[in-house]
Structures are given as C-alpha cells and as structure tokens.
C-alpha cells in the first residue's frame, strides 16, 4: 500500500513578504511585489524593474550570500511550524539554479589574470543551498539537487513525495530558491524577448492571460516545505497542513524557449499528476497556473488545461503579484495551494483586464474568491521544456 505524504511545515521569502502569512495576505489582497531594481543601477538595461525578494535578516550560516540567506530564512520558518525533523531518516531535495559571478567580478578576474575566488565559486554551485539546509536542519538522509530551470522546485517537491512513498526517507525537506535578478540575466532574457518591457508601469507588467501581456517579470525568493509520511506525523502529534497527493512531469521535446501551441507537454504533466493522485479532473477545485505572462507560455498552458479539465475549473497565476521566481516558483506556488485549501480562498490573477481569447479559462480575475475546494494543482513549466505538476489535497 502506498504511503501517504503530508505537509507539516511551510516557509517562504518572496517579493511580497518575508514569511508565508505576509505573502499570502499580499497575494490575496492583489498587491504587486514588482518595482524598479534597487540592488544595482539598472537604468541602462532594456528592463529596469524586477520582483526582488524583500530584505531579510542575515542568517548566521549564509556567508553573505543572498540565495543561502533566503533558503535559510524559509527553512527556519518551516521548521518552526513543523518542529524538528532532524535525523538519518530525513532527506533534503531542493531545486536551484547555478549562481553566476557578476560582470564586474568576471572582468576584474580578467584584469587580475586570475580565476574568481574559489569560495565564491563554491557558493554558486546549485547544491550549495541543499547542503546548507541539510546542515541547519540536521537532516542526515538522502540529499539531492534538481536543476530544471523554472520546474526545479516542483520536481524537487515531487522527488520528496516519491522518496517518502518508496521508503527512502520518512521526512523530506523540499523546496527551492533562486536569485537571478542581475544585469546578465536581465539582459539575456530581455534579448530573448521573454521579459516584459513595461518600464513605465512595473506593477502592471506581470499580467498572465491578459491580451496585453508582453513577457514575464524576473523575480526571486525561496519556498520550503516539510514533508512527512502520514504515520510519522501522526505518531509525533504534528499538525498536518495538507496532503501532497500527486506528482507528474513531462518533457515538451519541442524547443528550448517555446512551449508547443497544442499544450501537449502541459497536458501530459497534469494528467500524470492526476493519475498519481488517483483523482478525476473534476475533483480539482483550483489550478495555480505556471502563467508566466509571456505571449507563448500562457496560451500553451491554457490549451493544456482545456485538454485536461472541465471548463469550470478555477485558474489563477500568482506570478501576476510576485513575478517569476524561476527555480523557486514551484515550491512557493505549492505552498499557496496549501493555504488556499486551508482558508478555502483562491488568490487572483491581478492585472487581468482584457482576458486573451486564446487563454479562455475560468479565471479568478483581480480579486480573491472564497470557494470550497478539496484538491488543488500547481504547474511549473521550465525553460528547456521540462514540465511538473503537483496535487495538494485537504487532509482527511
């Protein structure tokens, strides 16, 4: 018999807040975390705004690195809720991207005819947050780092689910972190035509499914979930927030930067997650869409949803409020599904003023709605064509 997996702790840092509740309050209130870049002078870049994570206190172990700081902060919030899960039967799986030296660092290294500082390079390894989280939490079980761009943390959460089901671990600390707001990434994504260039009106720039959308908003943040087998959580008297009931993923096999217009890969991922959860499409009450606000992604995902679900399923993209957290988005948006089920409240897609007919869905537009739901799905679709879908369910 398959082991059931429950969520007993959540933590996050996002452009909307330094904890879960402040982010949730901001998302449901329809606030935007997007604004002009503050961390460096972006005035000469084609895009001058982003969704920077809110400032958080330095963490003792972060070595001055923002990615580690965000991951450690989110972890501590999650552990404060779940209680300690330290031990040999607890593993860690995070989604993360490679860090990169700034242009200044690279250029200075060339001037000095020297390689960048080895310590700095070590911090940039995608596995650096995973190792730190394991050390802080005292997790001595399996350790892995998934790096599939925007799908990273969705797949990391899925891997945690599968590892507990398989008996590899009894608890898994899962999630993701990303900090990509820098000159190189903004320039690169802008030249691809992927970023919104609404420089004069940043708060209205992220507008998934809207006819006037022109690209995504680069964001940053971290989301951590504590997963446990249901029997372990029950045995130690932990408060169960929700059940993680399904995971599916797929590859588009299409193009590096685009999604197939027929939504094939998205449909395959969502159908696999439904099957894994043992649910019928009509049982899903809410979909937190990947919804990046790019001209190509949104209709492809909408087509995938149309192929998989009845027209009545309610859909929103919280990237409208907090931008695209890239490797962290899957975990953060899975947590938002936990909260939607907890509060029976569905967060909106803001800036959805003229829904694109090519994205005909039952949108939750601009205002949160109260609605009874048992199951929610969240999608994450990555640059390069990896897709991941998770199902979160009310704990019975």
């Amino acid at each position: 018999m398959t082991r059931r997996v429950v969520i007993t702790g959540v933590g996050m840092v996002t452009p909307l807040g330094r904890c879960v509740e402040s982010t949730w309050e901001g998302v449901c209130a329809g606030r935007s975390g997007v604004g002009p870049v503050t961390r460096f002078d972006a005035s000469s870049l084609p895009v001058t705004f982003a969704a920077e994570a809110v400032n958080v206190e330095p963490q003792p172990e972060d070595q001055g690195d923002l990615k580690l700081r965000l991951a450690a902060t989110a972890l501590r919030e999650a552990l404060a809720q779940s209680g300690s899960v330290a031990g040999a039967r607890t593993g860690v799986c995070l989604g993360s991207e490679i860090g990169r030296p700034s242009l200044e660092t690279l250029a200075q290294a060339m001037v000095d005819n020297a390689a960048p500082d080895p310590e700095e390079l070590a911090l940039m390894h995608p596995a650096a947050p995973t190792r730190l989280v394991a050390a802080i939490a005292g997790a001595e079980g399996p350790l892995s780092t998934v790096s599939t761009a925007c799908t990273s943390s969705s797949q990391a959460v899925g891997e945690g689910l599968l590892r507990i089901r398989r008996g590899d671990a009894d608890a898994m600390i899962v999630g993701g972190v990303d900090v990509l707001v820098d000159a190189i990434m903004i320039t690169g994504f802008a030249k691809l035509g992927a970023l919104s260039e609404r420089n004069a009106d940043p708060r209205r720039a992220s507008r998934p499914f809207d006819a006037d959308r022109d690209g995504f908003v680069l964001g940053e943040g971290a989301g951590i979930l504590i997963l446990e087998s249901a029997e372990r959580a029950e045995a130690r008297g932990a408060t169960v927030l929700a059940e993680l009931s399904g995971f599916g993923c797929s590859c588009n096999a299409y193009r590096i930067t685009d999604s197939p217009p027929d939504g094939r890969g998205a449909h395959q991922s969502m159908a696999a997650a439904l099957s894994d959860a043992g649910l019928q499409p009509e049982q899903i009450g809410y979909i937190n869409a990947h919804g990046t606000s790019t001209p190509m992604n949104d209709p492809s995902e909408a087509r995938g949803i149309q192929r998989t679900f009845p027209p009545s399923v309610r859909v929103s993209s919280t990237k409208s409020s907090m931008g695209h957290l890239v490797a962290a988005c899957g975990a953060v948006e899975a947590i938002l599904c936990v909260l939607a089920i907890r509060d029976q409240r569905l967060p909106p897609t803001i800036n959805l003023e003229r829904p694109d007919p090519a994205c005909a869905l039952n949108h939750i537009a601009n205002r949160a709605v109260d609605c009874e739901i048992e199951h929610a799905m969240t999608n994450a679709f990555g640059f390069g064509g990896s897709n991941g879908s998770l199902v979160v369910s009310k704990h019975a």
Binding site: E97, L103, V111, A127, G141, S147, T148, G188, R255
Partner: protein
C-alpha cells in the same frame, strides 16, 4: 514491482564510443593547461552529433556537456522503440561549463588602460556580453537538448550533485520503472573538466590532496522493465537494482588512468564499464557531501560482456 534491465548503452569518451581495454589511456599533455599544476588531461577530440541533431545549427546552442550527453544518448536509443512519449529522461550533470572564450571580448571591453572601468562595465561590456550564454549553460540544457532532438517526452529530472548526480538520476529511473511510472527510461550523465577553470575547480574540490588528470565524458543507459524488454525482443545486457545485496564495490576512480576524472559522469561510467567488461556483479556508489552514499547494483546477464569491446559496430540490443 518490475525488474529493471539495461538494454542500450552509449558512450562518448576520450577513448571512443565503446568500452575500452583496461590498459588503454587517453591522458596526454595538453598545451592549454600550461602553467597549471596539472598539464595532462583526457580530451575528446571530436564530438559527433550529426546523426542526432534535428537541425545542425542547434549545435551552436549547446555547451560542451550537452554535446557529450547527446552524443551518448543517441546510440543508447538505437534500436529502441520509436514510441517515446512515456520514456523517462534522467540526467546527472556537473559544474557549469566554461564559456569557450565567448565572453572575452565583453570582459576586455570592461577595461580602460588595463584597469576595470565601471562605466565600461555598464556600457560596452554589457552590450558585448553574449546574451544567450547564461541560458546555454543552464544545468538542464543537456536534458532539454536530448528531449528535443531524440523526442523523449516522459518523466524527467536533472540533478546537480557532483559525483553522486549520475547515480541519483539512475536510481530515480530504476524506481520509476519499478513503480510503473514509465516502462523505459534513458539515464544520462555528462561532465567536462578539460580546461584551466576545470583544473582549478578540481584542485579546489581536492582541498590540497593530489588529483587525477581532468577528463570529460558522456554516458547513457537505456533501462526497461524486464517485461517490456522481453515483449519487444530486446536483449538485456544487465540488471540494475537499488539494493547492494553483498555486491563488491567498484571504485569510481577505476577508469581515471584511462579517461581522467569525469566527476559527475564517473559513476555512470563505472556502471557502463562494468557491463562492458562483463563484471558479473558489482555495486557502484557515490556521495553527496557528508550524506550516506547512494548506489546502484549491477548484475551482468550471464556474466559475459554484452557490449562490443572494439569499434563502433555490433549489436546494441
């Protein structure tokens, strides 16, 4: 639970595309490493991709690890079912590859009079920096290019974790087949260290200890449930499992004298070589940091080599 067998294998190493004799070695002096503590490396002279690319110009979008991965994945799928919608794709990757000098003009433009100039960084340096370079070198690009060029559409993942990355990918694939999440899965590992930056990183990882010559490799294994392989008449080269069951350990460094240190590709190379050599039963393991080792048991069918030792021809199942 389904038994899992290996029915296809692909290699892209400095000694060619087939398992090699233990006495062979591709480690040689490399002029580009002059001035470093280690000046030898095992370099793949030519990565052949023409048979696998849908569009030849796409090669320009591929960093070295993605090229190595695709060069290994193509042959591993040779003779497999053309139905790849549900085929899993599990990839272990290493450090970010170097940029082959593509960023040099931009970085030179950041200098004025031999010194770093802030205005030049924000101006000509930024303008000249290759905009696609950060995207081309994302860790999941090997997975993306294999999926696109070989039409693999099923469950997937790309793991970064040093030497354990390939085994983490392999174990995930074995479990997925056992649980019926997919019938077939392509497992790939690729890594390259044959550059000045790679040597410096190897030295850093070694933390003062001596290092083997740097190497590079792509390795791919096609896994299937035994029932699926049997139904399509595919020959099983070996059986893989996630339990050790007393199997003797095969060291990851066994092939370093021949191929150099291929790091994230080492563990999958060890699995492939044990199959190629006909090693009847072994356990390949690797560690991520101080965590418990992850491993895979390999049992070669019949205790004989199932893969040609020389040349590129032969039955690949």
């Amino acid at each position: 639970m389904h038994d899992v067998v290996v029915t296809g294998m692909g290699l892209c190493t400095a000694l060619g595309d087939a398992p090699f004799e233990p006495s062979a070695s591709a480690v040689a002096e490399q002029s580009e490493l002059e001035g470093l503590r280690h000046t030898t490396a095992a370099v793949i002279e030519r990565v052949e991709l023409r048979a696998w690319l849908k569009r030849r110009k796409d090669r320009k979008l591929m960093a070295r690890p993605a090229q190595l991965a695709l060069a290994a994945a193509g042959p591993a799928l040779h003779g497999s079912s053309s139905e790849r919608d549900g085929m899993g794709l599990y990839v272990g990757v290493g450090r970010e590859p170097g940029d082959d000098g593509e960023s040099a003009p931009a970085l030179i433009a950041a200098q004025v009079g031999g010194r770093l100039d802030e205005a030049a960084v924000a101006g000509p340096c930024r303008d000249l920096y290759p905009p696609l370079l950060p995207l081309k070198t994302l860790p999941n690009m090997a997975l993306a290019h294999i999926s696109i060029h070989l039409d693999v559409r099923g469950e997937n993942g790309a793991w970064c974790g040093g030497a354990a990355a390939g085994l983490t990918a392999l174990r995930a694939a074995v479990w997925s087949i056992r649980e019926g999440r997919c019938d077939t899965a392509l497992v790939v590992a690729a890594d390259t260290w044959v550059s000045a930056g790679g040597v410096r990183d190897l030295l850093r990882i070694a933390n003062g200890a001596s290092i083997d010559a740097p190497g590079e490799a792509g390795v791919a294994l096609l896994l299937e449930s035994e029932a699926h392989a049997s139904a399509r008449g595919a020959r099983a080269m070996a059986r893989v499992a996630t339990e050790r069951a007393g199997a003797p350990i095969r060291q990851l460094s066994d092939h370093h004298a021949a191929l150099g240190d291929c790091h994230a590709a080492d563990a999958l190379l060890a699995v492939a070589m044990s199959i190629g050599e006909g090693q009847s039963h072994c356990w390949v393991q690797a560690q991520e940091g101080s965590q418990p080792a992850v491993g895979v048991a390999v049992a070669v069918e019949g205790g004989v080599a199932c893969y040609p030792r020389e040349g590129t021809g032969g039955d690949r199942g």
